[in-house]
Amino acid sequence: MSEAEILQEYSILDRAKRNPQAFGELYEKYFDRIFNFVYRQTDDEDLTADLTSQAFFIALKNVDRYQFRGVPFSAWLYKIASNEINKHYRKQKQTKVFSIEEGRIRELMDLADEEYNEEIIHRLMNYLKELPTEMLQVLELRFFEDKDFKEIAFILDITESGAKMRTYRALDRLRKNFNLRIKYDGKE
């Protein structure tokens, strides 16, 4: 995100503090992204709609308390959405669901120059099942939402080095189990 974009968002936020209608611009801009992020962790369309709406409502309610902390505004929205998801699972006492798009896995496999087939997908699913939730969250933000470590750290309320460590450990296991060459930044 460029500095000009961050400044533009900041001016919208400034207006939203005085006039909540102005927040609508940010709602329109980020709704799809937050919806997809929540949907990936619920796999339930109606529940996703509720949690996304709740996340935006909380953001609007607290917009006057928002402070720039070196990460884009969207990271704050992701953080609120993530908290809402966690709250939902705590309340329902259910096993956490991660629903991942086949298309994105195919893209990642292509980037890693790996052959994509049903067998490897099946093994990958079984591997991901055994990963701790914290690692899955980091992997999701890194490879499905394309967030940098600073943002991941802010969203999950951990340190930047903690985010890096979790990603590194998860990828290390992935490399050992699958002989995959997915790199730290997912680009190669």
Binding site: F31, F57, K96, F98, E101, N126, K129, E130
Partner: protein, 87 residues
Amino acid sequence: MGRNEIRLRRQRMSSGRIAQHRNYGDIMARHERDIKLKRISRAFIYFLIIAALILIFLFVRRWERNTEPKAKQSTALVQRVPGTSTR
């Protein structure tokens, strides 16, 4: 069963379908209701504080009134005791 349930989605949700859930008007309405509720609860809290202060004030005044005559009586007694041999 593993720690988490992992599901594979064959298709991405279309933006048209996501757009069906987009409703900023609803968020605004909730926000306005929330502001109204906050104002009402704030007014109620102020009312409770003022009522509590009035009650404390009334209680203190009443307590002062009750203690005042006793104090006068006791001073009167003190005056009489040493003054028995005034003649």
